[in-house]
Amino acid sequence: MASTTSWSDETIAVFGASVTGPGHRRAGELNQDAWRSGRAHGARWVAVCDGMGSRVHARHGARAATRAARDAVKQWARVPDASSALLVRLVEVLWRLNVAPHPPDACATTCLIGVVQPHGRVTVAALGDGLVAYRDADGDDGRDGRDGRDGRDGRGARFSNETLALGCAHHMNDWFTRSWTPSGSFTLVLATDGISDDVPPERVGVFLDWAGGLASVAPRARGASVRRALHTWPTPGHIDDKTLAILQGAFA
């Protein structure tokens, strides 16, 4: 559907960071989260992925998922009103090709994607644990990987570090998807469960305030600000890798 809104590149901020959690640092292991952002056909996009620690190639799987997101958006964004279901299917197929020759279940990973297209449409697609939170002129909304909107295995049915994922049995309708065209400014935050598990649902709005505030520093310093915050994570006993990405913009 045609839209009258549009954005210029200067009004969009995309930034983030990923840090190895204390658990992996103590064990001498590498970060199993990954994130990536980019541009394609005028769209700006970001992907955040969390490799399942119990799988032998989890790090590879998470990085492969960010590449799959990049390649999927490159094709998908050519068509201004392509459905989110097509984006999800592209990611599923490309991820399997990207992890080859490893078996998908050895590379299992969550996958959270956000895209904003030049005509103003924002699309999010998410499979597995982690936080997708957004704010626009109509208010706050989003989805936590463990809440009831996350497919069949709803909120409360799982414990920490258990998740749906690419590489684990799931249905297409286990993906959370949403496309909408915000008016005015918007903030989209994607975070792995190393972050979302420590942010209670009732504080997600304040978390959006905090994350959105990071865009107020100079563009070159934004990534470092996120990294510094993740390195000094305040929850006692936290062990997980942590990845946070923010996509913020204003439409004319």
Partner: protein
């Protein structure tokens, strides 16, 4: 200016341990219950003193004896538990205990989704005297309770091993014929839980050891 510590929770993720303890009359025989009380107290002390933990060990003790099961210690951080010795009387209402523990694990207010996978430990010396098969089926079918790690200890020769194996699976059941084996089982539970509480993968469980091997050092544990 918003500080990150104002947005995040200020307590570690819980690692819940739920003890289902048979306090039927037969447990009072042959010093079984007194050995159990000592082992339980040692375990709770070790949990409370686990200051290297990244997860916070939470403990509940459910006692089943007489006609029903009751919460002897409500689920709480191990460091806050005040343990009063258990006393034994009456029958073995295992079904009631299974119902109660399923309700607790299924309650997302008591055990939030940010908690690590709970451990349920069943200790019994006899044959269930109430309907236990349906409560066990409900536990095993529950989306949450079925994910708990389950361990069981048969105390003495009269314990119904088949029941405990249906609860935990054969590889996670051991039989204790004497007090030192009971202590070994509890030592394993203590070690396993504290290792998990410090681990980068707290949902993974070590294999249950053989309690029958005498390593020649048992007398030092007295």
């Amino acid at each position: 200016m918003i500080r990150l510590r104002d947005v995040t929770v200020s307590v570690p993720r819980p690692l819940p341990v739920l003890m289902l303890v048979d306090v039927s009359g037969s447990m009072a025989e042959d010093g079984k219950l007194s050995a159990l009380n000592i082992a339980m107290r040692d375990m709770l002390r070790a949990f409370a003193e686990d200051d290297e933990a990244t997860a916070e060990i939470h403990v509940a003790i459910i006692a089943f004896g007489g006609r029903t099961a009751r919460v002897h210690v409500p689920l709480q951080p191990a460091r806050t538990v005040t343990f009063e010795a258990l006393t034994a009387t009456g029958h073995t209402p295992l079904g009631a205990a299974l119902e109660l523990v399923t309700r607790i694990v299924d309650d997302a207010e008591l055990i939030p989704s940010r908690a690590y996978r709970p451990t349920i430990v069943l200790v019994s010396d006899g044959v269930p005297t109430d309907a236990w098969e349906e409560p066990l089926a409900r536990l095993l079918a529950s989306p949450r309770a079925s994910k708990a790690t389950r361990l069981a200890l048969a105390v003495g020769d009269d314990a119904e091993l088949d029941v405990l194996e249906r609860f935990a699976g054969a590889e996670y059941v051991r039989r204790a014929h004497e007090a030192r084996q009971l202590r070994r089982f509890f030592s394993f539970v203590t070690m396993s839980v504290t290792v998990r509480s410090r681990s980068s993968t707290p949902n993974q469980l070590e294999p249950l050891p053989d309690l029958g091997v005498d390593d020649g050092f048992d007398d030092l544990l007295e």
